[in-house]
Amino acid sequence: MGLFGFGEKKEKPAAASKDDKISLSGPANAASMKCIMTAGVRGVAMDVNLSGGDAVTMTHGPITVVGENAIEAYLDIKGKGMPLKPKKARHLADQYHWIEASNQLLDTETKVEQVMSRMDQLLGEQEFLVGPLTLADSVVAGSVLALKKQGKAPASLGNVDAWLTRVEAKIPDSLRAGFMSHIN
């Protein structure tokens, strides 16, 4: 090793090449749906196979990522343009507050009515959950769509339905039908 580490070979983490395809597999549950919605909103093409397994898993070349939160973080950075993760501290906190509500409450079918009523109220005042579009929108949309699929979401929340349409509209046309076929 040279002075100040010059000449030291910097070890880089494993990385996928441009030609590597992303694949998502796992059970057809809320966690998988959140990953699909995040990939969609970030415009990331991927093959989806929800035929089972213990946990949602994503592979991209030499990289394997297990678990919804890690996959969402990966897809957010890999997507087109600026990540959905906001820079402003308050937006960041609000984003993760909604993601915690999604993971801890909606996905466990706890306080569903309370959380979704609050969402409906908020979405009557603003376009997205935090204000600007963030990771919270794709993640919470995945939870809500999973609840709807099971018939466990409260009916007649017009602002939530309109928001779901807005979030789906963020998915590029080339990906939307294919992705939504795994969700609806």
Binding site: P13, A14, A15, I63, V65, V66, G67, N69, A70, I71, E72, A73, Y74, I77, K78, K87, K88, A89, R90, L92, A93, D94, Q95, Y96, H97, I99, E100, A101, Q104, L105, K111, Q114, V115, R118
Partner: protein, 249 residues
């Protein structure tokens, strides 16, 4: 007056914050409500100390979580909860990200896509596997004893994995300190206070890393050692949390 102002009083004792004439780099004291036996609360204290943000803490009882008083400050009853002036948020993930972004030090969240995903994987292992299992051991202190045999069986594989991971590099996900270190420091600290400490002692890489975490100066360059603020057995018994006070600006 909300629950924060009753239990995690923001007044520093020298009049209104920032009016004492001392040059303070943060405008408001953060107020945190949590519990000393809860690893998620300790993660919030660690990040505040690492990023040089003063934080006044107040303790909650489990029965507080469903109270209307607590739901006024954390609308879905998620704990821990944080207040900064007119802003409220709740949940350790929201709080640690907020404090990391607001703090004085450089962000500890990696920008590299692979490392960012790896960090989240280790954070999830902490929150979903280690945290709940460690609660069974912490019950030895709080008097709410859990099934430590089942908890040990749950913890052993993930601790083996962590031990192997820490054999490769200085920190959990590589050469740089990250949120993964914050999460596992809180877990290992609590486990180390219980009969589960032998699971750390028998894994040399975790043991050495934990010692490094205890000796490490804060991420923002202040002399404060964040681990020194973590609760002792007596603090947990007394349901007492330490405040984060920054002396060397």
């Amino acid at each position: 007056m909300d629950l924060f102002d009753q239990r995690a009083v923001a007044d520093t004792g020298a009049g209104d914050y920032g009016l004492s004439g001392d040059m303070k780099k943060t405008q408001y004291v953060l107020q945190l409500l949590g519990a000393p036996f809860c690893p998620e609360t300790l993660k919030c204290i660690l990040i505040a100390a690492e990023q040089g943000m003063e934080m006044n803490t107040g303790s909650l009882e489990m029965s507080d979580l469903d109270s209307s008083e607590f739901q006024q400050v954390s609308e879905f009853g998620i704990a821990p909860a944080l207040k900064e002036n007119d802003f409220f948020t709740a949940g350790s993930k929201a709080i640690t990200e907020y404090v990391n972004a607001r703090g004085l030090g450089t962000s500890i969240i990696p920008k590299n896509v692979t490392l960012a995903a790896e960090q989240e994987t280790w954070v999830d292992k902490s929150r979903q596997i280690a945290g709940p299992a460690i609660q069974a051991f912490v019950g030895e202190i709080t008097g709410q004893a859990g099934d430590t045999t089942a908890a040990k069986a749950q913890l052993e594989p993930v601790l083996d994995e962590l031990n192997a991971q820490l054999g490769k590099d200085k920190f959990v996900i590589g050469k740089n300190y990250s949120m993964a270190d914050i999460h596992w420091t809180a877990d290992m600290h609590l486990l180390g206070l219980t009969s589960g400490a032998e699971m750390i002692e028998s894994r040399s890489n975790i043991k050495n890393w934990m010692q490094n975490m205890r000796d490490k100066k804060s991420n923002c360059g202040q002399s404060l050692k964040s681990c020194s603020l973590l609760p002792t057995v007596e603090d947990i018994k007394a349901n007492k949390l330490n405040n984060v006070t920054i002396d060397d600006f």
